[in-house]
Symmetry: C2
DNA sequence: GCTTGACCTAAAGTCAGCTTTATGTGTTAT
DNA sequence: ATAACACATAAAGCTGACTTTAGGTCAAGC
């Protein structure tokens, strides 16, 4: 069993955030002893899932909904599974987006590297939009894909 | 040359957002003809960079700062390069985080798949925390890494 | 016995990033 | 000429996710 302070350190989350999560109903099983929250390994696990779902782009009220389902037994298994499938697809899409972002960032790093060496952007501009060095061209095209 | 409406369609961004970006100084070269904004290919390119930097986690005011640097000639090349290097590192870190999130999501998909088949979570609980099927164990461990 | 520190609540405040509202201008179609 | 459109502004409003504030309880150490 853990106090809110211990959980705060464990997850590097402010105490106020944990209380806010509790207020929002994200810990449906959280018990108290004379008013004081008692976190168990179950809440530690819950918090891991909260962080995961948050990172996946889910809103607090949707996470609450999921936690609610978890208290409703086996008939909500399909709902819960569908939620995770959906989040999985969303995160895969997000990663794909970020790879494209990364291509443009990498291109821009080369761009300014070159500009610093040349003292200006003229040489690069002369190569745009499709006579860049092979590797760089690939990044540039990938970033401007749609 | 494009009107704000054309740019809005091109980027699937509301007109209000484009006006907001302009108000925030994100288009330092944007010209007007009798009050009406005239977007050129330069602004199209700027908008691509805005979207990229936004996806990388940069705030509007930092993007504005970057756009300011772009108007200040070659002496800001090093600043601009450092910005992109930093954003590149941030996006790489973000992708790594999302891969971990993805591992937990994939694990949870298996979890509910199994729970649906079994009609309960007992079988899975008996395997936790380190007697899961090999592939699944790898996902689980990866997700709970720190 | 009194201060310190960790816990508690309810309610108000903050912040970024838009979005909406209210109002107005200028060109094009009927 | 009048309605419909696409543009414009300034200012207020919205949303989600916290965070801060103001006030209180309770156990432990000096």
């Amino acid at each position: 069993m853990y106090t809110i302070g211990q959980i705060s350190e464990m997850f590097h989350l402010p105490i106020s955030t944990l209380r806010y999560y509790d207020k929002e109903g994200l810990f449906p099983n959280l018990k108290r002893e004379s008013g004081i929250r008692k976190f168990t390994d179950r809440e530690v696990e819950t918090l891991r899932v909260i962080e995961c779902l948050k990172q996946s782009g889910l809103e607090i009220r949707e996470i609450k909904q999921f936690m609610q389902w978890c208290t409703e037994g086996s008939r909500t298994y399909p709902l819960r599974k569908a939620l995770f499938e959906g989040r999985k697809a969303a995160v895969e899409a997000e990663i794909a987006e970020l790879q494209k972002t990364l291509a443009l960032l990498t291109y821009k790093c080369w761009y300014y590297d070159t500009a610093i060496q040349d003292g200006n952007e003229d040489g690069i501009r002369a190569m745009l939009p499709d006579h860049l060095p092979k590797e760089i061209q690939a990044l540039y095209d990938r970033a401007n894909e749609r």
